[in-house]
């Protein structure tokens, strides 16, 4: 009897915990509310099954505990009952799967007007690249990467010259414009994850992966690396600042393009050479 009471309290406690928990979703700041809704739906259906099964079990503990001389029922099978349960379960599973697949279909189909952002990851940090005025990102290669070309942009690709490069882990985005995140890694697996946006995807060296979301709340968000990438994994953070269009454009105009970056380097190099010459002359 005591066992039944404890099991009952465990079930009751689980339900109460879920209702009164202070630990729940971090407030959403993107278009993926559908994911939250599907989770809520799964909670209702799955939670209902959990409570029903466990309460039935608890009832059995109370009702059918061992009594000397009583005999259990002898009934090897009940085809009808088993069939009903199979179909009921199947219907429940389909009801959960359908919204899951519908949202996945949205997740893998990126809207045409999405702003592309190249997110480049390494051990252990992030940097970003945005398309320039031509609206297209230039192609890249890992082996091109060096101090003069931190993103490995193919220098003969005309689309690459006006790309906006952000050599910092702070990215700005504007509200209500879909963003297609293109993920690259130069060394190991990483994952660019902002809990408020719900979405995530691994960055895999050797390929470019993608996902999309639409930020819809102005604010500053922490970026976490969500795929284990070695000993600095937990410290691989970044920042996303979501702003309205005006502030975003302001920020964008202050950023440097690839060609400006190269020109600056060339200028530095010439100046350096001059200094060296001077020193030699002296």
């Amino acid at each position: 009897m005591h066992a039944g009471i404890v099991f009952f309290l465990v079930i009751l406690g689980s339900v109460l915990f879920h209702i009164f928990t202070p630990w729940y979703w971090t407030d959403i700041a993107s278009n993926w509310g559908g994911m939250d809704d599907t989770i809520t739906l799964t909670f209702w259906v799955g939670g209902g099954v959990f409570v029903a099964v466990c309460l039935f079990m608890t009832y059995c503990i109370f009702k059918f505990s061992y009594k000397e001389g009583r005999k259990a029922e002898y009934k090897p099978e009940d085809k009808k009952l088993e069939r009903i349960l199979t179909w009921a379960t199947t219907i429940g599973v389909v009801a959960l799967l359908a919204p899951g697949l519908i949202i996945w279909n949205q997740y893998v189909n990126v809207p045409k007007n999405a702003l592309e952002v190249d997110v480049m990851a390494w051990q252990w940090g992030w940097q970003y690249r945005l398309p320039g005025e031509d609206g297209k990102l230039g192609t890249t290669k890992v082996i091109n990467i060096n101090d003069n070309n931190p993103f490995g942009i193919n220098t003969d690709d005309p689309y690459g010259q006006d790309d906006v490069i952000i050599q910092s882990d702070v990215l700005n985005l504007k509200t209500n414009r879909p963003v297609k995140i293109l993920l690259r890694s130069v060394d190991v697996l990483h994952n660019w994850y902002v809990p408020q946006f719900r979405a995530k995807m691994d960055a895999v060296p050797g390929v470019v992966t993608f996902y999309w979301f639409e930020p819809n709340k102005v604010g500053e968000y922490e970026v976490l690396c969500a795929e284990y990438c070695g000993v600095g994994h937990y410290a691989m953070r970044g920042t996303v600042i979501v702003q309205d269009e005006q502030n975003y454009n302001q920020w964008l105009s202050e950023q440097e393009t690839f060609s400006e970056f190269v020109a600056k380097l060339d200028k530095l190099e010439i100046e350096e050479k001059k200094i060296v010459k001077k020193i030699n002359l002296n």
């Binding site: 993926w32 050797g206 000993v231």
Partner: protein, 612 residues
Amino acid sequence: MSDELENKSGYQAQSSETVNEYSGSAVGDVDYVRPAEVSDQDLYHGHSFITKWVFCQDAKVIGVQYFLTAVFTGIVGLILSWLMRLQLGFPGLAGFMTAEHYYQFVTMHGMIMVVYFLTALFLGGFGNYLIPLMVGARDMVFPYVNMISFWMFFVAVAVLMASFFVPGGPTGSGWTLYPPQAILEGTPGSGAGILLMLISLSLFVIGFTMGGLNYLITVLQARTRGMTLMRMPLTVWGIFTATVLAMLAFPALLVSSIMMTLDKVLETSFFMPTIIKAGEVLGYGGGSPILFQHLFWFFGHPEVYIVALPAFGIVSDLISVHSRKNIFGYRMMVWAIVGIGALSFFVWAHHMYVSGMNPWFGFFFATTTLIIAVPTAMKVYNWILTLWRGNIRINTVMLWCLGFIVTFVNGGITGIFLGNVSVDVPLSDTYFVVAHFHMVMGIAPLMVIMGAVYHWFPLVAGRILDEGLGKWHFWITFLGAYSIYFPMHYLGFIGVPRRYFEMYDSPYMTSGVGLNEFISLAAFIVGAAQFILIYNIIKTLKTGKLAGKNPWQANSLEWQTSTVPPEHGNFGEKLPVVHRWPYDFSVPGAKDDFIPQTVPPSEVIDTEVEKT
């Protein structure tokens, strides 16, 4: 090793006798069972200490050897989990704890618990001990290979443990060993540590294949007369199907281990694309990190069921025996085990929804994954329907089974969250995943293991474990483990990522700090509670109540042995003959509430037994 084969108990002559006994009387004899097709063979009996207890060929001793070795690694895994929880609950409290150490502990804890503890315990431990006894065989069909199997496992464990002592320490790449980081600097133990891990896994697979072939062929070929496949206890069905999965899944692990070893040692590029580290281009190019993930999870997902299916089987038998009622829907249970086993090879990429594989795979793998929920749910229904109108003994064994049902249903339902592709996106790589798999493949199978220990200890040792201590052990473990993992899901909702050495003052974690401290405290208590069992075992071995024959009044063959504990050869002079399934409990018209499998119909003539 000069022992000779000898005809100790003279059971070679038995089969020809039985053939004579039944020839000609087949028609109309209710007790008729088809004669044996091959004659009974004697076994190699060890005489010296070494052949009896060290390089022993008796599956029961090998089972105990597997069990003890697995428990040893499990205790190491438990201590590692304490150290991890110490860091997570109380960061910085243990001065020696660096991020390197933390990741090494995470990795070793995971690999030990999944492979060297759970797999070895269920298949090597329970499989060896129970299969021959339950199907009515004298031993495994290849006892010598079986002996080698254990010693390969032992060497694999030794190599694994050795990695704690090499320069750089054990690998800290996470138990999934994802390249490229697993073999590159920047991950702890990326030198000798990862190599020893890969070698140890390869040895494990080789040794396990030897044992696995034994289990399969013993079940298929060495069943006693009358033991049809559909009269086998579900324990045997579970272990048998899990072994089939292991035989098909482990090769993928072996292949990926070998390939990664080559990538590490010879700088081949199976899994390694062009990589720049610290401004330098490494000598790799053209390989695919995602290929490794496919191979790993092609092994890794069936691996989940390699642990789960034996647990399903065992818990079915325990629930049936202690409810004094037949397992409900036996045939459905068998087909569910086989069906789940088959489906488990079509769901592996649900671990990879956000891995960067082609996203269109998501539709396929989400569908297959949720299909598995149907046979799994059927099993759950049948367990609780077995309790319904039973005559349930609420003893320690039953308590573990009830604990299993609660934790398994809980963990199964969170699995539906994670399997449902778009729901997985926000939750993957967070503590929701950690909580889910610990609940469903850590705690739930552990509940079954504990139930099985309390259930079969009287057979193995001849004495019944103390019930009072057993109940304390259960309640602390069950309530403690539940309060570790149930609230942990909610950390995942907040967005706390797994494999984080420290959260710093991240905005997500401010409210989670107290919860993390609570979880850590619960983990310390639950871990410590396991030593109650060790104390119970020591105490019982000395002064415990003698079990006698068949203390639980069960029907299956392991309780019908000539002696308790069973001797080498299990069944004395004559092998048992089976007349019924092992679930004839509380049959109307029967004197007792159980009819062992060996009882012929003529002895229980007035009962209303359904034909099995």
